[in-house]
C-alpha cells in the first residue's frame, strides 16, 4: 500500500558534491518514475528520456541552490510536466490497452489461471480506462508511493482534492471489478 511507504530520506545536502548520493537517488526513483510515465502512455524510450531529463534538471536545480525539500515529489512533478509535453502519446496505454498487452499478464501462469487472470486484468483495464485522467494520475502517483500532499504538489491540486479523488477512483474500480 502506498501509504506504508516511508517518505524518501536521502542525504540530499551532499547530492551536488557526492556522486554516491546521486546514484542512490537515481536507483530509488528511476523505476517508479519509469512506471508512472509508461502508464501515462509514454513509450519505454520516451519514458527513459524523460527520466534522464528530469534528473538533469534536478542536478541543475540543486547546483543552483534550489530547494532540497521533497525531492521525490519535485522529480515526479518535473517528469509529469515533461510527459505533458508528449501530449499526443500521453493517454496511449490506459486509454487503449491492446490485447497483446493483456496477454503478457498470463504468460507464466497455468492455462486455467491464465484465463482467469487475463479476464480479471481485462476487466480492471476497462475500469481504469473509464476513470478520468485526474483519477488515473492520482492512483498512479499513489501506486508510486507518493503521499497525498506530494500528489497534490505534482498535479497542482489541494491535498483534500487528492483524498476525494483517490477515494472515488478506488471505489469505482472496486465496483466495476466486483472485488
Amino acid at each position: 500500500m502506498s501509504g506504508d511507504a516511508a517518505p524518501l530520506a536521502l542525504p540530499l545536502s551532499r547530492l551536488s558534491t557526492g556522486a554516491c548520493e546521486a546514484t542512490t537517488l537515481y536507483r530509488e526513483l528511476r523505476k517508479p518514475l519509469l512506471r508512472y510515465l509508461v502508464c501515462l502512455g509514454l513509450s519505454s524510450d520516451e519514458a527513459q528520456d524523460v527520466v534522464q531529463d528530469a534528473f538533469l534538471i534536478l542536478h541543475r536545480h540543486l547546483a543552483s541552490g534550489g530547494s532540497q525539500e521533497n525531492i521525490r515529489g519535485w522529480l515526479f512533478r518535473v517528469a509529469h510536466n515533461q510527459a505533458r509535453n508528449c501530449q499526443n502519446r500521453y493517454d496511449r496505454n490506459f486509454s487503449a490497452a491492446s490485447d497483446a498487452e493483456m496477454d503478457a499478464v498470463s504468460r507464466e501462469a497455468t492455462p486455467e489461471r491464465a484465463l482467469l487472470e487475463k479476464e480479471k486484468f481485462q476487466q480492471l483495464g476497462k475500469a481504469i480506462r473509464l476513470l478520468s485522467a485526474s483519477e488515473r494520475e492520482c492512483l498512479l502517483l499513489r501506486a508510486a508511493g507518493l503521499r497525498y500532499r506530494e500528489i497534490g504538489e505534482v498535479l497542482g491540486i489541494a491535498t483534500s482534492t487528492v483524498s476525494d479523488t483517490v477515494d472515488r477512483a478506488i471505489k469505482k474500480l472496486a465496483e466495476k471489478c466486483n472485488v
Binding site: M1, S2, G3, D4, L34, R35, V38, C39, S43, S44, D45, A47, N93, F94, A97, A100, E101, A104, V105, K120, F121, L124, G125, I128, L139, L140, R142, A143, R147, Y148, S163, V166, D167, I170, K171, L173, A174, C177, V179
Partner: protein
C-alpha cells in the same frame, strides 16, 4: 451507507490524522460492511499495482540496442567509402591501368584465390582481410562447395556484402536479400570491374545443395 465510508481509503493509506484514524479503527471492530470494503479497497489497490507492472513489462522487454542500427549504418557507409575511393580508377578511363587488367584476369594467382587454393599474392590477401574478412570467408566457403559455379577466370577478388536496408527503405526489397559488390584488384592495387549483384540467402542455400 456507513458514515465512515468516505474515510476508509484515506485510513488505508495512513493519510488520516491520528484521532480520526483511531475512530475508524474502533468503527471497523463493529462494522462488517466497512471491513469488507477495506478488504476490497486493499485488493483493488494491489491489482492496480500489478496492472501497472504488467503495463510496463512489454515496454521493458529487451530489444535491439539503440546503437546497433547506427553501427550497422556506419559499417555500410565505411564499405561504400572504400568502394568510392577505389571507383575513380576503373578500367577504360585510364589507359595506363588497362594493361594490368588483362594480366590480372588471366593471372593464375587470381583464379587460385577464387577457388580457395593457396594464395601467392600476399598483397591481395592482406587487402581482402582488411576490407571484408568475414564476407570473404563466407564466400570462400560457398565457393568450396560449388566450385563449378564460381570458376570463371574473371571472378572478383574482393566481395563486399551490403545489407539491402542500407541502400533501400525497409520493406523495399524481399527479406533475406543483400547486395554483393564485386571488385577485381589489379597488380598495382587499383580496382577494376565493379559489379553490384543482388543475392537472396534462401536461393543461395538451395543452389549449394547437391
Amino acid at each position: 451507507m456507513c458514515n465512515f465510508s468516505g474515510k476508509l481509503v484515506a485510513w488505508l493509506d495512513h493519510e488520516l490524522p491520528a484521532e480520526e484514524a483511531a475512530e475508524v479503527e474502533r468503527h471497523l471492530e463493529t462494522c462488517s460492511e466497512c471491513r469488507g470494503n477495506v478488504d476490497a479497497f486493499k485488493r483493488v489497490s494491489v491489482e492496480f499495482d500489478a496492472y501497472c507492472d504488467e503495463a510496463i513489462a512489454p515496454n521493458a522487454r529487451p530489444g535491439m540496442p539503440r546503437w546497433v542500427p547506427a553501427v550497422t549504418a556506419a559499417g555500410a557507409v565505411a564499405a561504400l567509402l572504400v568502394l568510392f575511393l577505389i571507383l575513380p580508377r576503373t578500367p577504360g578511363k585510364s589507359p595506363a591501368l588497362h594493361a594490368p587488367d588483362a594480366a590480372v584476369t588471366a593471372s593464375p594467382a587470381v583464379v587460385a584465390k577464387v577457388l580457395p587454393a593457396p594464395v601467392r599474392s600476399v598483397h591481395r590477401v592482406h587487402r581482402q582481410h582488411v576490407v571484408a574478412p568475414v564476407q570473404n570467408q563466407i564466400e570462400n566457403s560457398a565457393l568450396a562447395q560449388n566450385q563449378n559455379a564460381y570458376s570463371l577466370p574473371d571472378e572478383p577478388v574482393i566481395q563486399i556484402a551490403i545489407p539491402a536496408d542500407e541502400m533501400f527503405p525497409p520493406g523495399a526489397v524481399p527479406e533475406g536479400m543483400h547486395f554483393v559488390a564485386d571488385l577485381t584488384i589489379a597488380a598495382d592495387g587499383s580496382a577494376e570491374r565493379l559489379r553490384l549483384r543482388p543475392r537472396l540467402a534462401g536461393f543461395e542455400r538451395r543452389t549449394t545443395q547437391p
